[in-house]
């Protein structure tokens, strides 16, 4: 089948690359409208304080100011978060969404008031004139304190704990008693930021039909429903048009500017634009959660793991947002991609007065994968086997059952991915640094991460295709494009199925009024979900075209194929009709030349939260990273010399994009391993700029070698799996393992800064 495919599997550039490389693509901030006002947000200086009063009189009196809004001006200030899911899931998975702070503020940077003015300078000036009288409250900043019964309460409830999930199997105490070697450790990971290069931005206006229209950089256009709720409008009077994103990584999954500009446009009747500064972006949006993870693991002398116990505490920050969802991923992945008889996983998430945690590439997997993979490598060493051997002995395989009770019916590329990554990094001779103080080491880690949303959300996607009379094709699909080629992949599928060149396929995306809703660009779900919806629609049209051509060629439709804009008899390719001619026949005879299809993921019920068992996700992507580092024993500095990323991606639709995800994902979480951390002092962020929040530059990033395996066992089109988030899952533990190999210290507290490494070397 592979050879026959014309478009799938070929390294074709994205259709949007041309406009991007010429600087012609309009991102959200690049749009302006006549009569547009500029918005600015007043944000809390305190992490925890009572709002005694807000006086907006001086701000309102400033020339040019058209509106100043506080919580009392928001029709429905307190609603329930939804994230575009098809089904209400309630029960802790949906929680308070508050547009503007009321009564008390919960984190530094929380929005307190909004201003719209004729110029940005006026809006900035007006924000300074709003007088808020605060009474500072003690707050709670350490999640281990927040779970105590007598702790300060962040919200209005009498506990800070917002989610508590457990999963168990067998008898861990018995498992530990059978073990010859036991390792027990506490791991910590910090809050980190997405630092997409494009700060949040959007413009809202009321169109000539009275529809509140919002053009915004978002991963979730379905937030139009949330905005409608905030304003008390029918859902069909709010329209969201998503722009191409300048990166998202989960940080644009929650509502960002939408409600603010919607309220201001509604109040003033004028278009309103709001773009965050970089500093504001750091303060305003979610973070990847800080976790504290106690792990205990035991194994027999032969390396077979007998029991694993994980106690996980997630700092969800000031509001729940997606924290319970993220925690569910952690619950499922905490015991890693291993087949272990005795498992006990206990995960809690609690509110603090820190920035709020929510989605960030990996969604609760990188945290637990760092801890789990680190302890597995340490266990291997204690037993006297290699990191690869322990994984070969214990990793799950097809037919095995995961800790959480899900049976792996489909092909599992373990330990293959680990073997290939490890072999590839060891193919090169170890570098000998000229500098005596530098030691080189190599390490590896494996991982599993889901693609597709949790199955109890009953996820769906829709896509619409229309064949034009000249043989070109128009696709409409409400998919937000983050730059991963989400839209381009759909074009490739259509080109393949309808036998037209990629250049003849045009796609319209991300508009709640004009494109079928395709769900969120999150959870590594678009190729799987919208890819399948598009494939389904394309195949219906293909069948119609073949059926019509069959009548003309006196064969059955099954005997025909389409390629290169021709429909031909597969056995006698010379017997063919131009595609365009068949289209004209259909058009003339009233055969429908358009189709909209919906794809449904597997549906399950909400699991028993006191013992999560069975299917929670559609499927997993399995992968591995190997890394080579040089550690300077005098300065503690780590240089990553080489990275190999190996994944079973099911099927490569486009090598350029697939490898792009693997390269980018590796470097994204290389930062997690070594430098990235939101530094907080009692709820105040101390590093809200690129100067102090250090992400990898070209100088830091090594060459990433990508090895893609194609099992064709995925649930996506042509057997593809998802790669966006999995791509970053196992690099941090691989780097930490390599540091240990180089200098003999195991860092259990990310990031592995030079100070921590030096301190560990001296200990």
């Amino acid at each position: 089948m592979q050879d026959k495919l014309k478009s799938i599997g070929k390294p074709s550039p994205k259709h949007d690359d041309l406009v991007k490389v010429s600087g012609r693509l309009n991102y959200a901030e690049d749009y302006s409208m006549p009569g547009m006002l500029y918005a600015k947000v007043l944000r809390s200086k305190y992490p925890a304080a009572k709002i005694l009063s807000i006086n907006t009189a001086r701000a309102e009196a400033l020339p040019g100011v058209k509106a100043v809004l506080t919580a009392k001006d928001v029709p429905y200030n307190n609603t329930i978060t939804k994230f575009g899911q098809s089904k209400d899931v309630g029960g802790g998975f949906e929680a308070l969404y508050r547009v503007l702070a009321e009564d008390k503020v919960r984190f530094t940077g929380e929005a307190v008031a909004l201003v719209a003015a004729e110029t940005l300078a006026q809006a900035e000036e007006a924000v300074k004139l709003i007088e808020v009288d605060y009474e500072p409250l003690p707050g709670v900043y350490n999640v281990e304190d927040a779970v105590q019964p007598d702790s300060y309460k962040v919200g209005e409830e009498d506990t800070n704990i917002i989610a508590h999930f457990k999963s168990h199997k067998g008898d861990v105490e018995k498992g530990f008693s059978e073990a010859d070697v036991i390792v027990e450790n506490t791991y910590r990971v910090p809050f980190v930021d997405h630092t997409y290069l494009e700060p949040e931005s959007g413009t809202a206006w009321i169109d000539d039909q009275g529809v509140l229209t919002i053009r915004v950089s978002t991963q979730v256009i379905e937030h139009f429903r949330g905005v409608a709720k905030v304003l008390g409008l029918p859902e069909n009077r709010v329209r969201v048009i998503g722009t191409m994103l300048g990166g998202g990584f989960g940080g644009k999954e929650d509502i960002t500017v939408e409600s603010f500009i919607a309220l201001l446009a509604w109040k003033t009747g004028r278009p309103v634009k709001l773009t965050y500064t970089r500093e504001e972006s750091f303060l305003a949006h979610s973070k990847r959660h800080r976790y504290v993870m106690h792990y205990k693991i035991g194994a027999k002398k032969d390396g077979i793991i007998t029991a694993i116990k994980a106690e996980i505490l997630s700092d969800s920050g000031a509001y729940p947002y997606l924290s319970p969802w993220v925690l569910m991923y952690s619950t499922v992945c905490a015991a890693g991609p291993y087949s272990i008889d005795n498992v006990d996983v206990d995960c809690k998430s609690a509110l603090t007065n820190n920035p709020f945690g929510s989605a960030n590439r990996g969604f609760g997997s990188p945290q637990v994968n760092f801890a789990c993979e680190s302890i597995i490598s340490e266990l291997a060493e204690k037993i006297g086997i290699t990191p690869l051997e322990i994984r070969e002995k214990n990793c799950i395989r097809q037919g095995n059952v995961l800790a959480g009770g899900m049976k792996m019916d489909r092909y599992v590329a373990l330990p293959d991915v680990g073997v290939q990554a490890w072999e590839a990094i060891n193919e090169q001779p170890k570098l000998k640094p000229a500098d005596e103080s530098k030691k080189v080491g190599r390490g590896m880690a494996i991982g599993m991460m889901t693609y597709g949303r949790m199955t109890f959300l009953h996820d769906t996607s829709r896509s619409h295709i229309r064949v034009e009379l000249d043989g070109s094709v128009t696709v409409r699909c409400g998919v937000p494009d983050l730059g991963g080629g989400q839209a381009a992949s759909l074009c490739q599928i259509v080109a393949e199925e309808l036998g037209v060149p990629l250049s003849k396929v045009r796609i319209y995306i991300s508009d709640t009024a004009l494109t079928p809703l395709a769900g969120t660009t999150t959870a590594t779900r678009q190729l799987y979900m919208s890819g399948n919806a598009t494939l389904k629609a394309a195949r219906v049209l293909r069948e119609r075209l073949l059926t019509r051509a069959a009548a003309e060629l006196n064969v059955t439709a099954a005997e025909l194929d389409i390629a290169d804009e021709k429909i031909f008899v597969t056995a006698v390719p010379d017997r063919s009709l131009p595609l365009k001619q068949v289209i004209l026949f259909c058009s003339g005879e009233g055969v429908e030349l358009f189709h909209e299809a919906q794809f449904n993921a597997p549906f399950t019920d909400v699991p028993d939260l006191s013992n999560v068992q069975g299917q929670v996700h559609p499927d997993f992507t399995f992968g591995a990273h190997a890394a080579e580092v040089a550690v300077d024993t005098e300065t503690g500095e780590v240089e990553v010399l080489n990275i190999v990323s190996c994944f079973d991606v099911g099927r490569v639709l486009n090598p350029l994009r697939c490898e792009g995800q693997m390269e980018g994902g590796s470097i994204y979480c290389m930062g997690y391993a070594l430098t990235e951390e939101i530094i907080l002092e009692d709820g105040i962020t101390l590093n809200s700029s690129f100067t102090d929040y250090v992400i990898p530059t070209a100088l830091d990033a090594p060459h990433v070698q990508s090895i893609t395996l194609e099992s064709k066992a995925g649930l996506g089109p042509y057997g593809a799996k998802g790669i966006g988030e999995p791509a970053c899952n196992s690099i941090a533990p691989a780097i930490i393992d390599a540091i240990y190999d180089a200098v003999g210290v195991r860092i259990k507290d990310l990031p592995a800064t030079p100070e921590k490494i030096l301190a560990a070397l001296k200990a």
Partner: protein, 165 residues
Amino acid sequence: METHQIELTVNGRRRSVNVKPNELLINVLRNDLHLTGTKYGCGIGECGACTVLLEGKPVLACLILAASANGATITTIEGIGAEKLDPVQEAFIDHGAIQCGFCTPGMVVTAKALLDENPQPTEAEIKDYIRGNVCRCTGYTGIIKAVQSCGCGGEHKKVTAKKQP
């Protein structure tokens, strides 16, 4: 605030604009001249998204007062490959060096400056030259390959799928 008229030659066109003394070049380019290809990523010289060429040299438009550029010749991304794509732009496309594309204009301008100065840069020279241009999506591998491929008189090899192990 009082404004002054300044003259700029932007992408070969003479432009005159009234600017406040504290107005930054990035705002003049984006808001007054509607050249929105130059991006704001940080505003404090830490990301490179706003890189433009001033008298042929790469500078950060978020750090330069427009008034100080009076009389200068400026090239923005819109001035590169306007007729026909520059080889470095084609190389970016062919090597998968573009994901979200938000860093791309600044990255292309910087790469162009590098290749003008040093037509055959080594990998180390490329990394050093673009170190001020942050890309959060690609991990830089594709970008470096793209620039490297231009290192032989504008010709660049097209990428093919990597071999399967």
